[in-house]
């Protein structure tokens, strides 16, 4: 127990200390984690910690990340990506493998070893690349999408590569079974013939898709009705872990399985809730993963053979960048996007670790080469943040200046978030949709959302007052937040939170009554709509008309009433103080009395009516007499 606590504490301290510094210096969180890992490594060595086994555990963060990526990607978007996925991905994996294998072979290695090296080093790091792209907001651009296509293709390609590697075993040099990397000890497909394996595998994928489509919604609805946050989180984790397990059992990449499940759930109303629930786990695990990568650097080996290792690392990255840039050209990536793609994916990745140990176990790679490859992979991952910085500071500014940005660079149009889709929010949402605006609806009633879905309105389940859910719903990119939730205090809290943390967002808040207006005003909100005020005013205007008032006069009078009332409300809202009870708040009390006297005068003397009729009133007899005396144009036109 104390071992576990010590270890957890060490990793947390290292991460907490290093990452904010790296972020502040503009190096990105990944580099911060990697450096934290390096700093930790002597301590871990003293404590005799098995860094590699921690790394295998932390790799689950990659699985979660792909689930999250899947959630962002609707099936039709995935289908639209198919050409790039196969073309770019195939070109990258095939080209890089061939190039690296060729070079290794040219140095005099056996062709089987050369090919294994090529395959291992062709893989890139999903963890680093996706984390960095997301962090920098580059994921939705052209280069980011292309990078993602390639990473996804690599995920798929790992499966046939794992099948291919044993065939490359050096004749005679038999290692004898051994540990198969970190493959599952359990398997559903062990001992089955080829077609049976295929059948089981296809069945598992079908199960994931069908489960995602038909099973998740009732389960989540059932859980949502319990309104227990941690059970919802547990359910989400259960799904992700379960899918990963199933995929491992049939020998598929767990990341691929959860990615598929994510895509299936991308249309679901629980998408944002799932995103915000899984995201912290993903972040922590990936951080741990990056730290283990840093901690796994074998400095003895590095300094013992410094020039060769560095040379190999730079060579691998140059080769990968070259292939990537060619592929980018073939697929028409332009300008800075081409370099984002070329530099971003130039490292080797965590799949390389898996493949290397797998290759060693299958007697494909000699024992002395494998640690060097591992080191090269690690170093190339370490260098990746530097390449992203190079891209950010040198390459992009140049292209930004040189060419006008493509129209499709605008990742998402100004989105409005509608919090609460009841009688009030529902109308607002309908109006926005009718005018062609994109909205994201959040509501905390699963039953209500079901009803909406049956009418074709897209809404997401979740408590809009939770910052993480707002984040998942895209508050960072949104232009507008409409607060239409029923609970007064929650609405005020939400307005306060968003006003202070996302000052760029325009907030339109629904107030339940006058006091709620004051509260929202104090929370920083300035676009406050009283929910029944407008309809009451219309009823008042109808009453004027029914009593024989000319409709246009009724309209003007109603407008004047609204103006006066809003003015009074505004005056009072400025004096109102949530911390001071009204009867003690002297300025508020005085102003309220003053405004009340005004209203009374109006009622008795009809001054209000007279004021609102200003305009179109002919000059009085007296006015006319005075102006003719001075020989001016008396009566106007």
């Amino acid at each position: 127990m104390s071992d576990f606590l010590l270890l957890a504490f060490l990793f947390l301290v290292a991460g907490v200390a290093a990452v904010p510094i790296a972020s502040r210096l503009g190096l990105g969180s990944v580099l911060g984690y990697l450096i934290a890992g390096i700093i930790l490594s002597p301590m871990l060595a003293v404590l005799n910690v098995d860094v590699v086994s921690i790394q295998h555990f932390a790799e689950f963060g990659v699985v979660m990340m792909l689930f999250l990526v899947g959630l962002e990607l609707e099936p039709k978007m995935l289908w639209a990506m198919r050409n790039r996925l196969l073309g770019l991905g195939g070109l990258q994996v095939g080209g890089t493998t061939a190039l690296i294998a060729g070079v290794v072979w040219w140095f005099g290695a056996d062709w089987r070893i050369a090919l294994a090296c090529g395959l291992i080093l062709a893989m890139s790091s999903t963890a680093i690349v996706l984390q960095t792209l997301n962090e920098k907001g580059l994921m939705k651009g052209d280069g980011g999408q292309a990078s993602f296509s390639v990473l996804l293709f690599q995920d798929i390609a790992v499966i046939p590569i794992l099948a291919l590697v044993p065939l490359l075993a050096m004749p005679g040099a038999h290692h004898g079974g051994g540990d198969e990397g970190h493959g599952a000890s359990l398997s559903l497909v062990a001992g089955l013939s080829g077609w049976q394996t295929t059948l089981v595998t296809a069945g598992a994928i079908a199960l994931v898709i069908a489960g995602g489509m038909f099973l998740t919604r009732p389960v989540f609805r059932y859980i949502a009705q319990a309104r227990l946050r941690e059970i919802f989180v547990a359910t989400a984790l259960m799904f992700v872990v379960g899918i990963a397990l199933l995929m491992t059992l049939v020998g598929l990449s767990p990341a691929l399985g959860t990615f598929l499940a994510g895509v299936v759930l991308a249309n679901s109303e629980y998408r944002h809730e799932l995103e915000s629930d899984i995201d912290p786990f993903r972040g922590l695990l990936l951080g741990l993963f990056f730290m283990t990568v840093g901690a796994a650097i074998d400095f003895g080996l590095l300094f013992g053979d410094f020039a060769v290792i560095i040379g190999m690392t730079v060579g691998v990255m140059l080769a990968k960048a070259l292939v990537l840039l060619i592929a980018a050209r073939v697929f028409g990536l332009r300008g800075s996007e081409k370099f984002l793609f070329g530099l971003g994916l130039a490292q080797a990745g965590e799949f390389g670790f898996v493949l290397t140990s797998f290759a060693v176990a299958n007697a494909v790679l000699p024992d002395d080469l494998a640690p060097r490859i591992m080191l090269v992979i690690t170093l190339s991952m370490m260098l990746t943040p530097a390449l992203f910085i190079l891209y950010d500071r040198v390459i992009r500014p140049r292209y930004d200046r040189e060419e006008p940005r493509d129209a499709d660079e605008i990742t998402e149009p100004g989105i409005a978030i509608v919090a609460g889709h009841g009688r009030f929010g529902g109308v607002v949402n309908r109006m926005l949709l009718a005018a062609g605006y994109e909205t994201t609806v959040l509501d905390y009633s699963a039953a209500h959302l079901d009803m909406l879905r049956s009418f074709g309105v897209r809404g997401f389940y979740g408590d809009a007052t939770r910052p993480d859910l707002l984040h998942a719903a895209g508050i960072d990119e949104a232009k507008l937040l409409i607060i239409a939730i029923d609970d007064k205090d929650q609405a005020t809290e939400l307005a306060h939170y968003v006003h202070h943390n996302h000052p760029h967002i325009h907030i339109i808040a629904r107030a339940r009554d006058r006091r709620h207006v004051y509260q929202l005003f104090a929370a920083g909100c300035r676009d406050i709509i009283r929910e029944t005020f407008d309809s009451s005013v219309r009823a008042g205007r109808s009453a004027y008309e029914a009593l024989g008032m000319h409709p246009f006069e009724a309209e003007r009078l109603a407008r004047a009433f609204v103006k006066e009332d809003r003015h009074a409300l505004y005056e009072l809202a400025q004096l109102w103080d949530p911390a001071v009870p009204d009867h003690i708040n002297e300025p508020y009390r005085l102003k309220a009395r003053e405004l009340m006297t005004d209203a009374d005068l109006r009622a008795r003397g009809g001054a209000f009516r007279e004021r609102s009729a200003r305009g179109w009133v002919p000059p009085t007899e007296q006015d006319q007499a005075e102006s003719s005396a001075r020989d001016e144009a008396p009566e106007g036109p």
Partner: protein, 197 residues
Amino acid sequence: MSRVLHYAAHPGLSTSRINKAMVQQARAVSGITTLDLYEEYPRYDIDIEDEQQRLLEHDVIVLQFPLFWYSCPALVKEWLDLSWEHGFAYGHNGDKLAGKRLMLAITTGSPQDAYRPQGYQHHEIRQFLLPFEQTAHLCQMRFVTPYVLHGALHADPLAHAQGFARLLEALRDDRLDLDRAQELTILTHDTLPIVEV
């Protein structure tokens, strides 16, 4: 018989003397359509389809309003701008109003002698009404000499309002001599060229 469409437009009808009396008299005339534009559209949300349908269904359009700053009140302009559309009233295929008659019935605050080159308005009243006259011509309509009351603040509401009612009846029964009217600059309650049967 002609189908007469009468629009009254005064944003402050309750403070008006003449225009209110005119509306009251007009409402008593049978067989014509009389409407208060500010009552129809207190929120300016003019229904173009409805208005064009109304225009199609009538032969004589009478616009009654007080002259504000040498023009009509804002809602009349809004109504013109929206319902007298291109392709309907003018322009390509815009002949739906061709052959109809347009007539104004206006009141002015200034006395008649102000509307002379030597008067303080410096121009004849018809000069100020040219935009309406040209609107009618562009739409291939006949612009009928306007029915005018100068010095409306001091004038007798009843005589003018009763004259207006007789004018509307004459338009309805095709008894207004348009050619004789055309020789006059303005029509007043005591100069109406009505053909008695």
